[in-house]
Symmetry: C2
Subunit: 371 residues, 2 copies
Amino acid sequence: MKDRFSVIYHLFGDEADCRARAADICLEQTVELGEHLVPNGFIKDEILGRIEDFNSIGPDQYETRISYLTETTALELTQFLNLVFGNISIKKGIRLHDVLPSDALLRIFKGPRFGIEGLRKQLNVKDKPLLCSALKPMGLSPDCLAGLAYQFALGGVDLIKDDHGLSNQAFCPFKDRVKACVAAVEKANSRTGNTGVYIPNITAPASRILERAYTAKELGAGGVMLLPGLSGFDAMKTLSMDDDFNLPILSHPSFLGSMVLSEENGLSHGFLFGKLQRLAGADASIYPNYGGRFGFSKSQCEEINANCKHKIGHVKPIFPMPGGGMSMDRVDGMRKVYGNDVLFLVGGGLMDYSRDIVHNVRHFLSIIGRN
Amino acid sequence: MKDRFSVIYHLFGDEADCRARAADICLEQTVELGEHLVPNGFIKDEILGRIEDFNSIGPDQYETRISYLTETTALELTQFLNLVFGNISIKKGIRLHDVLPSDALLRIFKGPRFGIEGLRKQLNVKDKPLLCSALKPMGLSPDCLAGLAYQFALGGVDLIKDDHGLSNQAFCPFKDRVKACVAAVEKANSRTGNTGVYIPNITAPASRILERAYTAKELGAGGVMLLPGLSGFDAMKTLSMDDDFNLPILSHPSFLGSMVLSEENGLSHGFLFGKLQRLAGADASIYPNYGGRFGFSKSQCEEINANCKHKIGHVKPIFPMPGGGMSMDRVDGMRKVYGNDVLFLVGGGLMDYSRDIVHNVRHFLSIIGRN
């Protein structure tokens, strides 16, 4: 197989420095040897990364496109990430901006099972934005959380998810919580005819993730949430490809922040919270909205939005899911950025607006044109 | 259970800013609600993070110690990491400096199975430093890598590991490689009486890690290497606690670099490459040595070294395993930093010194007083 795919890196420093760094990436990410030790033939000609482009994109800022032999990924997500950013994650002044997959590389990635279209079908919502809220705070009992889930569902929230800190604590065991919240949402749906679903957090020790996923499904959950920063991205991919499981997956950004915070290192916002999430099978990608209590900029959120939606072969578009300190008065501006294909994650904001949660939800839905 | 444990964070900004940030951590990492929405009683009194200390440690730099209810970790490594750094990984100016586990928290963590003492026993090396080398470059066939393994073993390398980019590529399938390298090392040992072992990289898609670990064991590998930045830390912990598996684990830092590169965000070097590795069951922690081709400083490496070795309840000390562009002339200085309890990872350096690899290995061993 001679197929190659490309990765775009942004490099920071003067030109000589950045040219040297581009050459170093080609070695470091493949053969991990000094150039004089690289064997001629197959290894020098094909295994070694290859600089395809090198351009200035600003003062002391360069962009290089480096191609790799697709076969060096072993057609595994783990080795793919290792190849494109493993060791150079430890070197300053290199940021992975984007990956341009070849058709052969895309064969590794089935992508999300549902994506935007599938999730809309599942929830029976055409065109308009979707709404998700989070059950919190940690410390409430399963019954108290279920009470909250009931009110969210009664108001018409589409996805009622666990706060990401809910796991399997003694004061709120996973199974009890799922049972209680599923029952509460079903009860509300039977009154309203809505199609809202409950989404538990199934992040768990490695050997327990599938067990929680299947428990959730058997107990009637409408999807699951996973934290790939803690489980690894491949745990999400594995689950998304499991035909027996067959439920939507929300991806949460916990523990991943350090990868984007410094603009001269790490991964771009668009790749980490957009493209990689799609490749790894998320149906929606949660991330902090601009202007909330986290520091993402509007343009970083636009980059994420674009990467959730633009064409990548057969890999379906997914919902950008901005959250983190969202209040109702910001919805208009956000619709301009995200359009209708957006999944609003509103937590405290739905508890805060007035003391009547059902009313708050209905008010929010009316703002986004849903009733 | 009322047990609490503490986390030390470093905060960057002026005092008012940092005090606000400390208070925010207490909310963000537990209840994820504005303070006015936190219910009185159990949740406000116990679930909420609690500021135990707050001190200036430099200009615009503060240290705070925050305690959490141990039960909020659900006694899971994944939720523990989520609790101590999940969402705040996305907020600038907060660095997790250290975790001070309570006895109750330590019950989650069995720690490494072998550690320094166990690995020494396994390899029959008392007191002196150990030596590891890496099979590379990617692109060589199993037989060629085995030829290299034979020379390393003949010279007396203790641990002969895969380069971290070797996975299950078509040009070098995992099983063929393990078979060939195990046989080569055994053949060399039968000539020399040495006790060197081969250590394959078992990093793989989530559902295949255990399969590769057991294949490695059945085929005669003397341990395995895992990349927790890609597999998740809990995959390593799970394997380290598996009584049937029962082999040493080397942890490799691939993909983790962005978590330490910015000094005002992420995790401290000592926590990420020292303490966390121990808690998650690594017997040795690979990281870039100071002065090599990566940018770690001497004091960062000293911090890692200390965290690999200082007392943490029943959790055994592990080998710091500095590598990354090491050459023979640096060994003396490194022994002053690391003492005798160090596992030198020398890759290219053992191929580069002269064309005779067996000679190079013997020369290196003589420098560290091994023959």
